[in-house]
Symmetry: C5
Subunit: 355 residues, 5 copies
């Protein structure tokens, strides 16, 4: 699980627009990968420096420039200068703690979101920023490896409509892919919940402390996912309100579809939360119920044997004058009394439904 | 109970509008059943392929085409081409995870909802899509068997106004029937809750673990029903806002009635939730209360017999010089002391209201 | 307490507007009572059939026709025909499960609400429907006996303004009386809560299981009342929005007053809920606290006597060579040791604040 | 604590506008105190009957007429006639259960609110109604004694702007004083919470039952205060929306200030609620934790002494052939075994962190 | 932790606009520090009295006047007179309990907020008020020491755009710095939560009472932070709605950025709350689970040894005629029986999964 809050405070007091990377330190070089395409063809290139890349841009082709690694403010600044991006936007690109949001800067639209993937069974959260202009889409991601391979394939093969459409469709496709991936997160979580649930229902819950920590971990993960996923609703919804020639009207039904998916994901999140809460309640009740059963056994044992032991102790006393001890049938009489006491008690327990 | 989340993630990365069935696999052939009717008469037919069906459509008659089985994207695509349906709409038809919604595509209105039935005492959830055009209604359902038989009868017999009205009335009738059926789900749930409730109130709750799982199962079912039923409110409400010549104004009071019913169902759901929560609380308190009673019995037994046993043990010691042992009335004196101790204790318990 | 959900599902699949009574079966004949009045005088009549009643209506007089018993759809239909009422409205009249609501049908206003009364200390819920036209008010109720006697008296005696005003004032007076009666429900509930509360606070809570079921029953009743009473707010508020010549502007302050009362009732309901929740929490804590006290007594007894009994058992062993047994003062020494052990323990308990 | 609901139901069925006092019975005579003032001077008078008072009103002076005691509907009716007040308004004046509200009757503004004071350490709630006209303010209160002395002083001394301003400023000053007084209620409550909190935190919580009832009482008081204070927000806010020449625009910033204060009070109420809930949780956990500790002691004692006592009992048996009993070192061997068992157990407890 | 409510009630009854300091008493002299700057240069001065300061103001330069210490109403009044500030505004400056808010007084904008800092590991809350006019910003703070040093540096060095911009940018910079500082509060809290969380998860929770109070303290701190930070959202959002020439349109993106940050802080607060609640639940369950384990050990010990001790006691009785005692192998037979009983019991426990 990622840390709750990243070290953002180091930026406090700096002038607004000061570029500083907020996130985990890394030394891997920044990768710049670009697609230039139109209906006729496509070009896929990888650059050493952004300067080279900038020169490769041509107005006839849609350019998708993917910058991998946001730990070098100087490179981000260079990109910002080339595309005339607002300094506050660049700040948001660099801040991996940035909340999911959509901002309309007339010349371009800025979208910040979270890319969630499972990498080696670990939830991996990456801050992704998109800048969509008239003929270009800039995408910034933290690390190598992403969920965009299917889009790359579609550009390469010309499958679907992506090559025939503008930058707005590309931006949509990237966002749609990120949101679609949330479904696999949901399924993963659903599996985890079901495993835990069937363990609780079947009573095979083994180590209780372990179960409680599993439940807690799932709750924690859910809190985290809610925080990451909820705001995307406003982004998907926001596109319908953007009154800009950057987004053609034919794209709107697609964004309505994305919005629909986010609602579905959020519905699942809420359902998971309700289910986890109900599971927690049930589990606690089960534990408390077991304790009740244990208590009953303890009480029955004590209640049965304490009076019997007392009787035994009574006739174990060494008084000189205890007439019962001299009786021939004294021992057997005591055994009979003991059986009577035990029988009465068992009847009592039966009436109390403890047996 | 259906699984929490179906395998939707396999679609991730495919171009938007790619048709793929999301839901349980099945190999039963797709059935196409159609009614063509107007005030004068009706025709009821069943087709092998959609092509035949398409030829049977005539502009003078209202056509209700019911496609049973949505696991063959090719057939759905064929339907889509004939009626010029948007690819995203067809995607939603195929996705059994699709949330209940209403969408207005000018030429036709698309409605997705959940058909809930009890089949062999099992809650059966089916994804139903409706497309209402000027003179046709398409309905897509997952499996054979549905709640529409009464509508079929009304078309056949010409009872009520259905034959005199247009496609908008037919679409209303289908939605109304689905919503009306929710009431039987509510009644079934109500019965389940009442059985559990009276078991708890009467104390005939038998196996506690079983009761807790029953409560949990009902809560879970409620969470699931809430997720399925809540969004229908927006659909019923949405018809009033649809500004389209597809819906005549005389239909609006009927949709207001449907809206009214959905509110009533949702009210019941909320009431059930409150009642289940209060039942859970009461049950937990009852369990905890029983434990309290058990504890009191245990304490009373221990408190009574521990001092008495100690006294017995004391005079069971083998010291050579214990003057009490030699006393003639020593044994009787000890018995009197024991009765006194027991009496004092019982008085103490009475004062504490433990007896 | 009424059942959670009544058998509404039998209507499923019938054409909309099909009249069918939903509610408890009854065979008592339907009563038709009518008042015809104006400033000059009044006539109070009781009819065998609605036909007679219909003939008695005159345009110069305000007519209040009260139909008692809604289990005969044929009579309701007859009424509907005479006053040209919408079939969906008639359906709502017959459905005792109908939610409280206000609907404006231009020619008349339809109001459905719940009449709550205590009959023989039992909460009695009746479905009441009102149809207010220009010169008439129709009221439909389930059973004989209602809260309208004061209005009948006012019509008879000409007290207040009721005879000088139109049908809108009569409709207001009926609604106002129903809402005013909610206050007595609130007071009854308030008394119940206070009795339970003082029992808990004073510790005279006697049988715990009984108390828990009392608390649960009150919570349940509250859930039911909330469901019945909440929607009346929208009705009272709705009159201000009705833009109709059926309601004269001088009536509006009166409806504002009704709205005010509903808010007050709802406020009380919310307060009751908070109080009941807080009572439940306190009661649970009290039970758990008592258990704590019982545990302490148990622990003290065990802790005191277990070591002492062990010592007694030790010197009850029959070993041939146990030098202490031969000592002259051995017995007394053991008694001293026992006192020392007991004293140390009591000091320990004091330090732990268990005594 | 005041009763939850006062006897309002006796009014049920009476015609609207029927004046009847709802509240505690009292026989003290009704007091009428009046201030007549303008910039030039002031007159302070006390009247026996309202008739005299009415004659003393002059159009050149602002009149503040304070009626103390609302249990005489005849007097209220007389006032109503003189100032031409709506009968529903007079009803609200007489109803001590009336919710806080603001109503604009064109010729005058009606405000109902709750005056909260601590009298002899008891929370005293009084229903206060204000009617503000162009040149007069009527105030109705239940009992002698109020929070308005500072305003009386300001009128007498001419301090501040009150004498230079109109009736709207006087009404504002009265409301402001009532709201300002809520702060002292908050402080009183804050003190109570802090005392309880430090008792819980320091563990000096003495009698648990008493603590629980203190917590419960505070929660109850909070529920009551929330009910009384929340609606004042709408009143303070309502003045900005009143479009009337009764309120001059220079007064609006003052009402904004009052609104600000009510928000502050409500913020405190919410904070108190959160704190009380968190205190309750912590206290319950603490109790449960103590029980845990008690259980551990009990378990340790039992676990230590039960095996030892068993061993002692074993060698207390009277079998003729028990070779150990004859051994010379048998007794000492048993003592060594006992020490070994005890030592092993203590080691086990240490490993479980119970010691 | 600051007190819940400060002594505000002493102001009750005073005329509105009466200046009185509400907050902790202090005797430190009031400091007046000012910056006068424009693009060309800056002047930094410290004044003994506000009179001197007022003379130093020139219309060509932006003036930032920082008044440190608000316990001298006379000085605040002097400032108010010079800048023509509304008396109610001055009241809010003096009231350290004032809620965060934004008010637009046409000639100037008033902002009240809370400056949160950690001073010596203690959360320090300071009431800060800002008044932004066309060419001046007044800032009022309670004590020496603030978070504005970075802004002072930026003015001195001319770094960033602050010297080139107007008073609106300065006001923004001050607010931004205060909000940015909330992030360090969040990080501090996050660290505290993580330490507690890992202690609970690892089971190294040592003293339970201490842990509970830590949890409670964090919850309390969170309640307090929520109260302080939530309203800032409305302030940041309010600037977009201020329709004033005091705020140039180029500033708006910056305020949008501030709004973004407040949302992020609030998100963190909500996440913390969810996490703390889930931690509390888990911890309680863990405690209850441990008790369960302790109970099991107790039950096993009792259940094993009570029957064995009873058997030992039985043959410790002194009856003259007990044939078993005479048997040669009686002792060994009893030992075998005892082993059998113990074995049976252990098997039973195994089947119950208690071992």
């Amino acid at each position: 699980m990622p840390k709750f809050v990243k070290r953002r405070s180091q930026k406090t007091g700096l002038p607004p627009g000061t570029l500083m990377h907020i996130g985990e330190e890394t030394t891997t070089p920044v990768g710049i990968e670009a697609f230039f395409y139109n209906d006729a063809g496509y070009e896929e290139r990888s650059f050493e420096s952004f300067e080279e890349c900038a020169q490769a841009i041509s107005p006839e082709k849609i350019a998708w420039i993917n910058i991998i690694g946001i730990h070098r403010p100087d490179i981000i600044e260079e990109v910002g200068k080339r595309f005339d991006l607002h300094p506050l936007l660049l700040e948001d690109v660099l801040n991996t703690e940035q909340r999911t949001k959509l901002e309309d800067y007339e010349q371009y639209i800025f979208i910040a979101l979270k890319m969630l993937r499972y990498v080696h069974e670990e939830l991996d959260v990456e801050h992704v920023s998109l800048v969509q202009g008239k003929t270009f889409v800039l995408s910034f991601q933290e690390r190598h490896g992403d969920v965009f391979d299917s889009i790359r394939d579609r550009i390469r093969t010309g499958k679907g409509r992506i090559r025939k459409q503008g930058a707005d469709f590309l931006a949509y496709a990237l966002i749609d892919t990120i949101v679609d991936n949330y479904f696999s997160i949901m399924e993963h979580m659903s599996d985890d919940i079901e495993i835990l649930d069937s363990a609780i229902t079947d009573g095979n819950d083994g180590n209780t402390t372990y179960m409680l920590h599993r439940l807690n971990a799932l709750k924690r993960e859910l809190i985290f996912l809610r925080k990451s996923i909820w705001p995307i609703r406003d982004v998907a919804n926001g596109f319908e309100k953007v009154d800009s020639n950057l987004i053609s009207s034919t794209i709107l039904p697609y964004y309505r579809d994305v919005y629909d998916h986010t609602i579905q994901v959020i519905d699942s999140l809420e359902t998971f939360r309700d289910i986890l809460n109900s599971m927690h309640d049930t589990y606690i009740s089960t534990i408390s119920n077991r304790m009740n059963e244990v208590m009953k056994v303890l009480t029955i044992i004590s209640t049965l044997f304490m009076p019997l032991s007392f009787l035994a102790g009574l006739y174990g006393m060494n008084f000189r004058y205890m007439p019962e001890l001299e009786w021939t049938w004294g021992y057997y009489a005591v055994l009979v009394v003991m059986c009577g006491v035990a029988g009465t008690m068992i009847t009592f327990f039966r009436s109390k439904k403890w047996l």
